[in-house]
Amino acid sequence: MRFLIFFGQRLALAVPTVLILSVLVFLLQRLLPGDPALAMGGDEIDLQGLEEIRHKYGLDLPIHLQYFRWLGSALVGDLGISLRNSMGVTELLLGKLVITLQLAFASMIIAVVVGIPLGVLAASRHGTWLDTATSAVSLTSISIPHFWLGILLVLAFSVNLQWFPSSGYVPFWEDPRRSAMGFVLPSIVLGTGIAGVLMRHTRSAMLQSLGADYVRTARAKGLSERRVVLRHALRNALVPVVTLGAIEFGHLLAGAVLTEQIFSIPGFGKLLVDGVLYRDYAVVQGLVLVSAVLFILVSLTADVLYFVINPRLRG
């Protein structure tokens, strides 16, 4: 029951957020200079041709009507037609979403598997050279630019060692092995910075919980140091880290423009760049809206998780 109330509150907050965002996205696109009808029709088109195109895509309607038309169909899953290649935007997005999801999951796995254990290690060896070294690694990985790390990895592992492909996406169902190999380097690029962030926050949350009275109690019970750290301290330290991880994951779902460019991965990032370049309103609007909804879904999931691992909320 308490959970339903909690969840309901979060959901009630999410709806207006999406609506406001949809208005902003819609307006922003219209306020940008450039005429999509002109972009579509090409140089040779006459005035009448332009009118026809405008009419066909509803571009001649008053702006608020355009918005409601767009929102109405968006609600039933129709995000319009791509001005550029006449495909349904919804299908287009679904295809790219699969790719972006794979990349986001792979990056997140790397970030969690590296970041959290190193954060725990640094905190449990607080003040030693290991702590200092780990913090230095964390800081470096946070500040290293994606394109630079990407190029470095390509040089090392594709050009020199030839372990992983430098670019190109292969769908999973065509060749699972090659598909997975293609995701390795881009996931490292995206996962590194997040690993650094998770490491830093895990470390400080762990330092806090290791100093807590309940950890002293755990030690007073005669538990092994391993159990004290991994069960009693980590469990509480994870509460803030989970929220942070969810936010990072949400960002990944919006698409990684640079990394997708470097490794020629046709995900949300690439779609966004193309959409903006060709003034493909429908695609850009749909993309931003879907990313926002995904982000909100991820934070809702994080809230649920937060609720599960934090008994104090459960009453």
């Binding site: 109690t217 007073a220 005669g222 538990l223 008994p311 104090r312």
Partner: protein, 343 residues
């Protein structure tokens, strides 16, 4: 002045019958910090009688908690150093044992409950879980058996509806209830020694009395030895067979409870009792103690209590008084003792 030599430790009356369970000898602990080395415990010696109760009193900062953490092996390893002494538990020196040997005693033969009941339980686990964990840390028992024992322990510490409480999280319990859970955890493996570090300080007065009552029953029914720490000498008087008075990291007086309370021989104890030393003319009235605990990093050369002492005389500013026997089993570290003789 009494002629007894204070350097060898005279045997206490009870200790003559049975060897004490715990013997702390000349324990010194210091902390290293930016501001230099701070001696938190300075050559403290005391015994916990087997099956009995030792009370330790002293103002805040007198080294009571640090002494008990030293016994538990729970001093922070980065900053704390035990610079001298021994801690004999059943005749074996805890300070000479390996970390894992000490760990196997911790929570089984020696348990501790703390000053802060509100924060001493882990908020992420149910109280049943936390009690079962204490059992399973030292004994190979099935989950079922651990569960039954945990519920039994909750019942023993008089928590109502123990089966229901078993699956509650700590935040649902009041401070007094949480301290009872802490006691249940401490009793999980039938310890020989229970260290209770100010178990009631954070609680309401009525709840305080209940907790003290509970500790008394535990001592009587199970024969558990208790080391009860408090800054409230009245609370200790109700439970302890012997009292140790600590000041600025050192023991300034010790002896049988009735004797120390009825006939205090250190001016600090007199001050703690908040009373006029003797109901005779010419006494020094002393209600509460003026002044503050000295900075442990810069202790005065003579008696550490001298700056606050109404009995202070010339020798007090030069030599630190050693603990010496005034009667068999009653010791005080004061140049002026016995205080009856002071004009």
């Amino acid at each position: 002045m009494d002629g007894a030599d204070g350097h060898s430790l005279p045997v206490m009356p009870q200790a003559a019958a049975a060897a004490p369970l715990l013997q702390v000898r000349d324990l010194s602990v210091s902390f290293a910090g930016e501001a230099g080395i701070m001696p938190a415990v300075r050559g403290a010696s005391f015994d916990v009688p087997a099956g009995g109760c030792l009370g330790i009193v002293g103002e805040s900062g007198s080294g009571k908690s640090v002494s008990s953490l030293a016994i538990m092996g729970l001093l922070p390893p980065q900053t704390a150093r035990i610079t001298s002494g021994s801690i004999l538990f059943q005749g074996r020196d805890l300070l000479a044992m390996s970390a894992s040997q000490v760990r196997s005693l911790r929570g089984s033969a020696i348990s501790m409950i703390f000053q802060e009941p509100m924060s001493s339980l882990n908020p992420a686990f149910t109280i049943g879980d936390q009690i079962m964990e204490a059992i399973q840390a030292h004994e190979r028992v099935s989950r079922r058996e651990a569960r039954d024992r945990a519920i039994g322990l909750l019942r023993q510490v008089r928590i109502p509806a123990p089966e229901r409480r078993f699956s509650d999280y700590p935040h649902k319990l009041s401070g007094g209830m949480r301290q009872r859970v802490m006691i249940a955890i401490a009793l999980a493996c039938e310890p020989k020694l229970l260290i209770a570090d100010e178990p009631t300080t954070a609680l309401d007065v009525t709840v305080q009395a209940q907790i003290v009552e509970l500790l008394r029953d535990i001592q009587q029914e199970r024969g558990t030895s208790i080391m009860l720490i408090s800054h409230n000498i009245g609370l200790i008087a109700g439970l302890a067979d012997e009292i140790v008075v600590m000041y600025a990291g050192g023991v300034v007086e010790r002896g049988a409870t009735a004797r120390v309370i009825g006939h205090p021989e250190h001016p600090y104890t007199v001050g703690l009792l908040g009373a006029v030393p003797r109901a005779e003319p010419g006494d020094h009235p002393l209600v509460g103690i003026d002044g503050a605990v000295p900075d442990l990093r810069h202790l005065p050369p003579g008696c550490v209590f001298e700056p606050r002492c109404p009995f202070s005389a010339a020798p007090c500013r030069q030599d630190e008084p050693a603990l010496r026997s005034l009667l068999p089993g009653h010791l005080a570290a004061c140049h002026m003792a016995p205080l009856d003789a002071v004009p």
